[in-house]
């Protein structure tokens, strides 16, 4: 196990607020190997972004606090290493792309300077060299006329171009891991596809591992090797893409899949969103956090927190009924999906 690129075990990140303890991440585990892609899926508020930020140590502490667990990058703990050590990793070995390219770039600096910044910090390049490299990176992410555009300010770029610029910035130092936090959510649908394509293409070229955080299972369907489904800060299902898509074990995963409008697996069935709202993280429902919204919930689900367990291989889930064949059948029938 020690030779994984990134290995997260039982990570818990709690926020201590005046209103109570927010259990934003509550026992997340996964592994990531070189060149691999991990999809992290969940509704907003499920703790997927916080998981990424916790690994990068970008959550404010306090009020945040890592309660338990660890995240090891190349065998070193990201959680306990010193601030200047993790700073050397951020943007260098692990880079991040954020959701909203409109606001993620600093409006008062030129694009080129912002892309060049990690190179100056981490690679010790001169500003001039870094700017030349920024031109190349922009060309790499498909910005036309990059020599001119490096001198532009963010507001002169369109949304898609800004996200390309963000990707260029993230890739500047050839990171081993690229965390993309909903990189396409804020973009038009056509642009979304282009960005995903670009990321896949670049992954092939650079061999970076990618953690793709999204609320949209469709986005990771083609891209991810493994998928982690999260709900209310807890992992509910983890497995290879095939396992998640073809043998989903948790009712929430099913619900997510049902809410994909144009999924290839769906035959002319009505869109079937999950009922209700995600729970407050201060006041997480007892037992299985999903039980108020779960159509199959029973008394046990209200009383007992289901344990995460491996069902087969690496495929695991946190549902009392996981592995119960009858339960799976009912799921399938209700969802109108033929396994």
């Amino acid at each position: 196990m020690g030779d994984h690129l990134l290995e997260v075990t039982g990570l818990k990140m709690y926020f201590y607020t005046r209103d109570g303890v927010v259990k934003a991440v509550d026992g997340v585990s996964f592994v990531l190997d070189k060149g691999e892609t991990l999809g992290v899926v969940g509704e907003s508020g499920s703790g997927k972004s916080v998981t990424a930020l916790t690994m990068m140590r970008l959550t404010p502490m306090p009020p945040g606090k890592v309660e338990a667990g660890d995240a090891k990058f190349k065998g070193r703990s990201l959680i306990t290493m010193k601030e200047d050590e993790i700073r050397k990793i951020r943007g260098n070995e692990i880079a991040m792309i954020f959701q909203d390219p409109m606001t993620s770039l600093n409006p008062v600096y030129r694009i080129g300077r912002q892309i060049a910044e990690p190179l100056v910090i981490h690679k010790g390049m001169s500003k001039k060299d870094a700017l030349l490299r920024a031109v190349e990176l922009l060309r790499l992410v498909g910005i036309p006329n990059p020599e001119q555009r490096v001198k532009d300010y963010p507001h002169q770029f369109s949304g898609g171009m800004r996200q390309r610029a963000m990707i260029a910035m993230a890739l500047a130092c050839d990171p081993d891991v690229l965390i993309a936090d909903e990189p396409t959510t804020a973009l038009d649908v056509t642009i979304q596809a282009q960005i995903i394509e670009l990321m896949q293409e670049l992954q092939k070229r650079t061999g970076s591992a990618i953690i793709m955080i999204t609320h949209d299972l469709g986005v990771v369907a083609d891209m991810a090797d493994r998928i982690l489904v999260m709900y209310a800060g807890r992992p509910v299902e983890y497995g290879t893409t095939d396992e998640i898509f073809y043998k989903p074990m948790h009712p929430y995963t099913w619900g997510l899949m049902d809410s994909i409008p144009t999924h290839s697996l769906v035959e002319k069935s009505a869109l079937n969103p999950i009922k209700g709202q995600p729970p407050s993280l201060i006041d997480v429902p007892s037992g299985c956090a999903f039980h108020p919204r779960c159509p199959y919930a029973q008394q046990r689900c209200t009383d007992e927190i289901p344990e995460y367990r491996i069902v087969e291989g690496t495929h695991g889930t946190a549902c009392h009924f996981a592995g119960d064949p009858g339960f799976v059948r009912r799921l399938v029938e209700n969802a109108g999906v033929k396994a």
Binding site: F15, T17, S44, V50, P60, P63, P279, S280, D283
Partner: protein
């Protein structure tokens, strides 16, 4: 403001999303959960606001102080002359014996150069400060609401004319404007009235801007269009839709402005253009007392200043509290 909005900004006060994390936004409470906070009190905007204000310790202290000031100023005639002595009366035959006394049991803050009790004068001085503060702001609010409404409602040339005028008013040094108006006035007209009018006439632009933006933001709402569609008159729109939404920021800003107005009144009186003796004003007291600093009688200056500071601060803190309680978003 909708329930949802209020929940949002209430969380803001607890400050977790001030930080730079990508912390998930607090999801709104479901109806089932909100019963925890629900008690028997009415759940109106004002009820909520009062409950929240009550929890704000500084605002309550401010409110208590203001109550003390107001009550003692109003009731002063009943007890001050009997206990502390008439704060305006001078007796030329005893003034030498009574002037510039240090604090004592009968004169808690001492006496001034004409032998009058400083505390008594402070209490009477509060009348001028509070009257000017409240009345001038009231004038500003009325003018500001009218012009802001005109501006926001009709837009176009009316709007740009009014906004241009507000620019002029905001650009020119405020005190100088007041000084110009007051100093040019015929002498017989000097006093509290012109101070109120001049401050009131100059204070409206902020209210006009505030109200204009309220009008504009409300105008964009669908229900205003809907109201128009069913033939609601402008005045009906104003009072049924715009006013209820705009009133909270106006109240908050007005409360804070009272403090500023008290400061302006004090400054004008200090310059000799405000309330004229024998009427009493805190600013005037400071001006009268400044000559006694060098003779080591700082109380003549210190106490009125402290009264101004505490009162202005109280209005500011109360305004802050109201802002939080009423969920008004304002920039500093």
């Amino acid at each position: 403001m909708s329930e949802y909005d209020r929940q949002e900004s209430r969380n803001e006060d607890h400050g977790i999303e001030d930080s730079h994390s990508g912390l998930p936004a607090m999801p709104p409470m479901t109806d089932a959960e909100s019963h925890i906070h629900d008690d028997q009190e009415s759940r109106t905007l004002w009820g909520d606001a009062w409950r929240r204000l009550r929890k704000n310790r500084l605002s309550i202290i401010a409110l208590v102080w203001l109550t003390i000031v107001v009550v003692s100023a109003i009731s002063a005639d009943l007890w001050v002359p009997k206990t502390l002595g008439d704060p305006r009366a001078i007796d030329s035959s005893t003034v030498m014996a009574n002037q510039l006394k240090d604090s004592s049991f009968s004169h808690p803050l001492g006496t001034d150069d004409l032998g009058r009790d400083i505390l008594g004068r402070l209490i009477y001085g509060a009348r001028a400060s509070l009257t000017v503060g409240i009345a001038a702001v009231a004038i500003s609010v009325i003018i500001g609401l009218l012009l802001g409404a005109l501006s926001g409602f009709y837009g176009g040339a009316v709007d740009s004319l009014i906004m241009r005028i507000t620019d002029v008013f905001l650009a020119f040094p405020y005190i100088l404007f007041c000084v110009l108006i007051l100093a040019m006035l015929p002498s017989s007209a000097r006093g509290i009235g012109p101070v109120i009018v001049s401050i009131g006439l100059l204070g409206w632009p902020s209210f006009a801007r505030l109200f204009r933006s309220s009008v504009l933001s409300v105008k964009q709402n669908d229900y205003v269009d809907a109201g128009r569609a069913v033939g609601a008159s402008d005045s009906r729109l104003m009072f049924r839709h715009i006013m209820p939404n705009a009133i909270a920021p106006i109240i908050v800003y007005a409360t804070m402005s009272i403090g500023g107005t008290i400061l302006t009144e004090a400054a004008l009186s200090f310059l000799g253009l405000g309330v004229q003796p024998p009427e009493i004003s805190w600013g005037r007291m400071i001006n009268d007392g400044r000559n006694y600093l060098i003779g080591n009688h700082p109380g003549l200056v210190f106490w009125p200043g402290l009264a101004i500071i505490l009162t202005v601060l109280a209005f500011t803190l109360l305004g802050d509290g109201l802002r939080d309680a009423l969920d008004v978003k304002m920039k500093d």
